[in-house]
Symmetry: C2
Subunit: 382 residues, 2 copies
Amino acid sequence: MIKGIKFSCVESGIKAKGLDLGLVLFEEEMNCFSAYTRNRVKAAHIHYNMKQSMDRVKALLVNSGCANACTGMDGIKDLRDISHVLSNELGIEKNQVLFSSTGVIGKRLPKEIIKRAIPKLINNLHEENIEGFARAIMTTDTYPKIVKFNFKGKKEYTIIGVAKGAGMINPLFATMLVFLFTDYPAIPKDLSRYFKRSVKETFERISVDGECSTNDTVLFFTKKGQKDETGLNAFKESVFRAMKELSLMVVKDGEGATKIIHIFVKGAKNKAVAEKIARRIAISPLSKTAFFGCDPNWGRFIAAAGDAGVPFNPDRTEIILEGRTLVKNGVEVPFDEADLKKLMDNKEIELTLHLHEGNASFDMYTTDLTYDYIKVNASYRS
Amino acid sequence: MIKGIKFSCVESGIKAKGLDLGLVLFEEEMNCFSAYTRNRVKAAHIHYNMKQSMDRVKALLVNSGCANACTGMDGIKDLRDISHVLSNELGIEKNQVLFSSTGVIGKRLPKEIIKRAIPKLINNLHEENIEGFARAIMTTDTYPKIVKFNFKGKKEYTIIGVAKGAGMINPLFATMLVFLFTDYPAIPKDLSRYFKRSVKETFERISVDGECSTNDTVLFFTKKGQKDETGLNAFKESVFRAMKELSLMVVKDGEGATKIIHIFVKGAKNKAVAEKIARRIAISPLSKTAFFGCDPNWGRFIAAAGDAGVPFNPDRTEIILEGRTLVKNGVEVPFDEADLKKLMDNKEIELTLHLHEGNASFDMYTTDLTYDYIKVNASYRS
């Protein structure tokens, strides 16, 4: 727990069943770092948050069960309306509230239901209630995703992170919502580049189905106050570690996933080439079904690489799967197929493509593509 | 049938079972138009064919069961070897033979098996044997894909087309092989732009799983001889019609597909924007599972559009599914969900996104994403 940061959750009725509304209240005004989806279609909470001042935040309200995306100006007005009621009840200013949503696209927030739930939500606030909050933002995540650890500066600090991952409600988008909290005094103007880079190196290196949500949000709340340079390195390491651990939790709990695949592209002319090839393999349905089927059908990986839209000479490519070399100079070398199939049954698999054309590399994580992905996503919403 | 063009097929043993080798013999030297995969990893037959002269072709040998891709120089030498034997037996020149392959990537052609099959293959040659040839190039296609019709110039001409589509053998790549034949005298230097454009507007407007094969090939064989300007328009129309019909057969027979979706993007600022959005929706797993599940979950279509990497204002977007308007100015309008679900059960569905930002448009065809796609592709090759 972090002194002065309280969490709460209720079953408000946005969803047919289960916790669906979470609140965070900050005793002191906080700084907030933010990163949002790159999708051109952005949920109302993103448009709304981007207009608030991010250096005196006192509350965060998050709902599951409704994405509040593609709801036009009305969707933003709904948030204004709710912030009015919530800030009144909390005795804070209207523009000190931030929002996040996840759920079905195109439906308005059930405003009255939310407003009615506010008194109970405030009543439930507690410094130890992070798990309840983590559960309130879940959709079909199979477990709440929380990280928490301490690091040292002039004094001991805590960082807590919570995420909801690639799950569907009835069904909806695989939105990723991530919230991080610390009592370390971090100043956005000094550290926003570090924050952005950490997001890029963690949450932007996972893929479940290659879809980009309208609601993806990362908010990081830090205390205000005097700098603590002594703790700076420990702080940075902790931020990165919290993000990395949460991002792995998200991909591991991907829709229908039975395993995660760590894709490593090495020996590229430059990082952009390595990244494009890694990302192309990460979304390749034929590669992902091969992982599900434990089939060392490496032709699918190299064909996906060849379709990445970047230049490389496939005649130099080496392919290594779970430490076994399958391909050298672009052609197959003898390998024990039965052994490989067994290794591919592991919960975590490592695939390396070495291009032998330079020194740049890129790595990321993806899931397999399974019957359950179809099941989760092909069922009716209603 | 076309006089002077003979087809043949045998069960040579490349596959464990079934026809796997097809031959076409041209009595006269033919012109050949060609288009190949854009994948940077290209099968041996593509490298080989690109070095042959394309204005005096006398034979085409096609095998299924082995892609002969990622086989390095050896894969090309194998073809040289086979062309030596085949041309000798046929009494033609070595460089008058073209090849195509489809099958598992990374395995060498079983050269001796193929050579042994040549006498029987030659023995089976017959002008009426197009269906046998079409069957020999199938993998898990569920039916042979043939089009045939006549058109008029100074005399009556015939065009015959044959394709193998998005099927897997055990499993392998969803390679598309297409061969067209006509007795109309078409000169490549006059008509190669028309050929390329027709390929682009037909075969490049279908998608099953967004994967780009190492082996994709379109070869069009035309007679040499005196021009027939009278028949030029009829010829052009026939070429386009043959390609269009074959491309629709390929997408309809896509792996695991239960329906095809005609995606129309209209009102775009320019064609590139319309094309990128259409292609992004066509490969969106969440859109494709919604089609499978008959779920009018339009948020998935607009979110895919928003992730296409091109600018548009989602607040102007109109979405029409099977003639019913779901969205106007980016927000939902009331629609009958039960009615929509029933309409989405059709074998062919039309989805239109109207951006209301200009006059450019683009349309293409895709399939739904189903349990059977996973089944076909997650099973072991062996």
